[in-house]
């Protein structure tokens, strides 16, 4: 037994135990694994008897010593002395392994800690992403929001609307991905001057052209041919000399996809762009606006070869809404047909239509709903005191009257006359056969104190009007108010009077006085 124990124990341990006359060593099999801290309680009961037993072990699962309660031993054996030996045995070879393992564990702990930090950093954006309500919306709804946002701004200001699409694409990666993957978001194109505008125009064109993966048949997608498919475009050109060729080339390349086109430019760009417009058809064009900038009007009258009559090679079958400032040399008969909304803006030196021209144009658009004849304030230049839009329009009034024809417009609902054109009212409306007319709109920014309405004819037009809208403060003089009252009296079915933008105080005063007089008379 001793031999076996001597083989198991270290030399130091053997020496310590050898001094004891231990008869009970048979109970103490000190075969501890390493790392064990062993408390050995040695109790001398008598000179001849020693008891050695284990008391505690910090790692009892690795301790194979028999366990004896020290208190019981002391009580039973009347111990006279207690010696406690604490031994920890760490062999050198294992000690190095342990150090390595500890180092490895430290490294592992460090790695885990680093990984935790990285994971936290990685997950923080996701948690932020998930806790942000708008990030939980599906792409389709976000696309609807973007579409509404761009459309709203575009309606107010085309340049801002164009930039709004870029802003939305620069918010975060998801929004950018949505914007770039839907070419429909880039269908509104503003070509103007200024820093970065050309770059943005080209970028926008690249985005329109670059995504051809899902051409659809329904609006606003078009598929003219296999190579130039994409969303239908709305182009607003408002530029000077800087981007005129960029605008011209854009028109030439994409005119077949344009649904709404607005050109507002100074003289030379206007010439360039209209020349480009002559070369290509516009099969999808629905709305056309041509408004020369200041200075372009007079210059444009000297342009040859840019008559609107030949615009788009006479191929714009879907054109329904036209807003023109008449600076061309010939009345565009081919352009003004099958329209629903027609706005003609007067310009000095322009080639205004004579009455039979206008009536022919109206007759060519049986579905016409609205006609606006607009004249800017102060259009009557002092050097031409007797020459204004009204006189210009009715130079041939005698010939037109001789024709004795009326233009039948079953869908016609509104006639709007502005400033100097208000005088044309009694001359113009007898030629209209408009069974569904609803509203007459008079816009007076100029002083109408010398308004010449003459005797209002009795005609179906006045009999059928049910709403009169007066805008502007031009009717504030007594004379104009009196003429207005006469006009109102000539419309028996009138039941809505809308007064806007400063119009009305004098007119209301008139009716209040009239009501007071009637009340006194009744009393």
């Amino acid at each position: 037994m001793r031999k076996q124990m001597a083989q198991r124990k270290s030399p130091r341990s053997d020496r310590r135990l050898a001094k004891c006359h231990v008869s009970s060593l048979r109970h103490c099999h000190v075969s501890l694994p390493y790392f064990s801290v062993v408390c050995i309680l040695s109790i001398r009961r008598s000179d001849e008897t020693h008891v050695v037993m284990s008391r505690t072990c910090p790692r009892p699962r690795t301790c194979s010593m028999s366990r004896v309660d020290a208190a019981d031993v002391l009580t039973d054996m009347q111990a006279t002395a207690v010696v406690i030996y604490i031994r920890a045995r760490y062999p050198r070879s294992y000690h190095q392994d342990i150090q390595c393992q500890i180092q490895l564990l430290n490294n592992l702990h460090h790695d885990i800690h680093s990984s935790c930090n990285m994971a936290t950093e990685f997950l923080t954006p996701f948690s932020t992403f998930l806790t942000t309500p708008i990030n939980s919306l599906p792409n389709e709804i976000l696309l609807d929001i973007f579409e509404l946002a761009v459309e709203d701004v575009w309606t107010r200001n085309t340049k801002d609307g164009h930039n709004c699409a870029f802003k939305l694409s620069q918010v975060c990666e998801r929004w950018r991905s949505i914007m770039l993957n839907h070419t429909i978001m880039w269908r509104r194109l503003h070509i103007g001057d200024g820093l970065g505008q050309r770059q943005r125009t080209l970028e926008c064109l690249r985005r329109i052209q670059g995504n051809r993966f899902s051409p659809q048949e329904s609006y606003p997608w078009v598929s003219i041919d296999n190579h130039l498919t994409g969303p239908a475009l709305e182009i607003d050109i408002n530029c000077g000399d800087t981007n005129k060729y960029c605008a011209g080339v854009t028109l030439r390349k994409y005119l077949h996809r344009v649904t709404k086109l607005r050109i507002s430019a100074s003289p030379e760009p206007m010439l360039v762009m209209t020349k480009f417009c002559h070369k290509e058809p516009a099969p999808l064009l629905e709305e056309l606006t041509i408004v020369p900038q200041v200075g372009a009007t007079r210059w444009a009258t000297y342009i040859s070869g840019v008559d609107l009559e030949d615009l788009f090679r006479n191929e714009a079958p879907l054109l329904r809404k036209v807003d023109l400032t008449l600076v061309h040399l010939r009345w565009p008969k081919q352009l003004l047909k099958n329209l629903r909304f027609l706005t003609l803006r007067w310009a000095p030196f322009g080639d205004w239509p004579q009455l039979y021209n206008l009536l022919d144009a109206l007759a060519a658009s049986p579905e016409l709903e609205e006609l606006h004849l607009l004249c800017p304030p102060d259009a009557l230049h002092p050097s031409y005191p007797d020459f204004g839009p009204a006189q210009d329009l009715f130079r041939d009034v005698a010939d037109a009257a001789d024709r004795g024809t009326k233009v039948f417009l079953p869908c016609f609902k509104m006639l709007a006359l502005e400033n100097a054109f208000i005088e044309t009212l009694p001359l113009l409306v007898p030629f209209f056969d408009v069974p569904n007319i609803e509203e007459l709109r008079l816009i007076a920014d100029d002083d109408q104190s010398e308004l010449r309405l003459g005797d209002l004819p009795s005609c179906d037009f006045f009999d059928r009007v049910i709403a009169l809208r007066i805008t502007g403060a031009g009717f504030e003089s007594m004379h104009a108010t009196a003429r207005l009252v006469a006009l109102i009296d000539a419309m028996p079915k009138l039941d809505k009077l809308k007064l806007q933008a400063g119009a009305g105080p004098q007119l209301l005063q008139h009716y209040i006085r009239e009501l007071e007089d009637a009340t006194r008379w009744a009393m």
Partner: protein, 166 residues
């Protein structure tokens, strides 16, 4: 006939049929099953339809909209030249969180008119803000890569692009 709607918190809302018709989920659940099953699921007042994803406050707000439009058609997607009535714009307001909750609920309840109105509300709030302002408003993190930032600088025509075109 009326239907009881139960919100996420368990609050009950008694609504009439015209109002319930505006809510697609409720309409399908209460009346649409009649087509497939031969009988309606909710045929009396005692039955309730639980809308587990809609809180009481949002549901009550949505019911105000449904009550307003019980007799007329709201604007829906596809109307050209949309111009929302003043009542709609006053209803939706400018509180972004509230609009987002209404939007999520309208999507869940399948109310296209309200969904479009909420989209319009968010679009109005986004109006006039630059990308940084939108991020701050909505709590979005700008998570662009360096490459994307360079691309955006090109789009914006910033001086960096002109100095370092590569």
């Amino acid at each position: 006939m009326s239907i009881t709607l139960i919100s996420k918190e368990g609050a009950q809302f008694l609504v009439s049929k015209p109002v319930a018709d505006r809510i697609g989920v409720v309409r399908d659940c209460a009346y649409g099953a009649d087509f497939w099953l031969g009988y309606a699921v909710a045929t009396d007042d005692s039955m309730g339809i639980t809308l587990a994803n809609v809180t009481s406050s949002i549901l009550s707000k949505i019911l105000v909209w449904c009550e307003h439009y019980k007799d007329m058609e709201p604007l829906v997607d596809g109307d050209s030249n949309m111009e929302f009535p003043e009542w709609d714009m006053a209803y939706i307001g400018h509180d972004m969180n509230q609009i987002l909750f209404v939007l999520e609920a309208a999507d869940y309840l399948h109310i296209p008119g309200l969904l479009l109105l909420a989209c319009k509300g968010i679009a109005d709030v986004l109006d006039g803000r630059n990308p940084r302002g939108i991020c701050d408003l909505l709590g979005i993190v700008m998570d662009f890569s360096h490459r994307q930032e360079v691309d955006m600088d090109k789009e914006n025509g910033y001086w960096r692009w002109f100095l370092h075109p590569t």
